[in-house]
């Protein structure tokens, strides 16, 4: 059961007006119109993925204080680890003062990462191998975008989220471990079925080519090895058109469901243009389609939990409702997971 959600947004902001000024071209209002983004969060100098991850987790522990002692598994989803080695999750474990007898590891996925991770956490809990899981998404994307072009700097921002996922037989942790809060309390989301896909032929359409062993030390090394995100936006959109809509339809059909059976869709918030297209193609009402990108930008694996957190805070999810989370992007990788808010 997804029992509680929290997030950390860095204080720094990059506005559209600043982008226009930085690149000497474009129109701030048009950028908002095209992308749905007015500003994006920018981490401070010296603030990296593990820092943001720990701050999101601290926000979660403020809701559920006793869980700092109870977590048995920490999973961090990120494509911007602090280092190539070690994994970032142990750094977060140490920063949070969590027990040394817990499992802590990274999942290296981007925009599809949250549904993938929920699927894995559900499997761990259903098998009895975990009971109380701290799932963090965190990406310090602006490290990779600060030398990129305007199209990339327009889209991406920094953020982190923390999800508390517990075995359903533990009941609602909000009843005895802390006050009811947005994203938690009496409303827990039971993680249902999932469906996933991968296509590595699209790896170089959205990537950091001067990173990793092949990129940094191998044949792809550039003259200036500053790791910079590169994106072929047209091909990424083409992938989205070819794959994501059909994926959602096939998944729903496999579950005996139709679009109208879903009370809220939470798609990866790539940009408004892309997700609005998907919404129209799938014939989803605006009221059942979460959009939460204007003040944060595309925060990679954090977009879905951020949008879900906002929807919960807004009361857009009610007891008995069914939510579908849909991630897609870098990899290419895609996946969906159902959440049942049985109340």
């Amino acid at each position: 059961m997804l029992a509680a959600l929290a997030s950390y947004l860095p204080e720094g902001r990059l506005t559209n007006a600043e982008l226009v000024d930085r690149f000497g071209q474009g129109d701030a209002a048009q950028i908002s119109e095209d992308t749905g983004i007015d500003s994006r969060c920018i981490a401070a100098d010296g603030e990296f993925t593990s820092d943001m991850a720990a701050r999101a987790a601290e926000a979660l522990f403020a809701q559920r204080p006793s869980y700092r002692e109870l977590i048995d598994t920490l999973i961090l989803v990120t494509v911007t680890p602090d280092f190539a080695m070690p994994a970032t999750a142990p750094l977060v474990q140490h920063a949070l003062g969590l027990g040394k007898d817990i499992a802590a590891y990274d999942i290296s996925l981007g925009c599809s990462g949250y549904p993938y991770a929920l699927h894995q956490v559900a499997a761990l809990i259903e098998s009895g191998r975990a009971r109380k899981v701290l799932l963090i998404t965190a990406d310090r994307m602006t490290v990779y975008t600060s030398h990129a072009g305007q199209d990339i700097q327009t889209l991406f921002g920094d953020a982190a989220t923390a999800s508390l996922i517990v075995a359903s037989d533990l009941g609602d942790p909000g009843e005895h471990d802390g006050p009811d809060v947005p994203g938690g309390g009496a409303l827990g989301g039971v993680i249902g079925e999932g469906r996933f896909g991968s296509d590595g032929s699209g790896a170089d359409r959205l990537w950091v080519p001067t990173s990793g062993t092949r990129g940094f030390a191998g044949q792809l090394t550039r003259e200036v090895p500053s790791p910079t995100l590169e994106m072929n936006g047209i091909d990424v959109f083409a992938f989205t058109l070819r794959v994501v809509g059909k994926h959602v339809q096939q998944f729903l059909e496999s579950q005996g469901l139709a679009v109208d059976d879903i009370d809220l869709f939470v798609f990866h918030q790539a940009n408004r243009f892309m997700i609005e297209h998907l919404r129209r193609r799938l014939k989803i009402d605006e009221e059942r389609f979460a959009v939460h990108i204007a003040k944060v930008g595309n925060t990679v694996s954090s977009t879905i939990p951020l949008a879900l957190e906002q929807a919960l805070a807004d009361g857009a999810v009610k007891a008995g409702q069914r939510v579908l989370l849909v991630g897609f992007g870098v990899g290419y990788s895609w996946g969906s997971v159902l959440l049942d808010y049985s109340g």
Binding site: D34, D151, N232, G233, I234, D235, F237, A238, L241, R242, F273, H277, R280, R281
Partner: protein
């Protein structure tokens, strides 16, 4: 769909104004950019369930090439 109908819709979607798009127009002269390409991709996906990538669009030099890519016949 006739080419003329398609071009009228594309003209409206891209907010290009006058003169209206004609098949012989050269994309470079229209200052065709990535946002135009995305709008075009979105439009032909919705209208014809056709998906094209950057190589497909990069091979188009004129508005008529875009019509061909969308598998539109001639108006005659």
């Amino acid at each position: 769909m006739l080419r003329s109908e398609f071009l009228a819709k594309l003209n409206q979607k891209l907010i290009l104004g006058e003169p209206l798009l004609q098949p012989q127009m050269v994309l470079a002269d229209l200052h065709w950019d990535s946002m135009h390409s995305l709008e075009y991709q979105s439009m032909i996906d919705e209208l014809f369930d056709i998906q094209v990538d950057s190589d497909d669009i990069g091979g188009c030099k004129t508005v008529g090439d875009l019509c061909d890519l969308a598998q539109l016949g001639t108006d005659e």
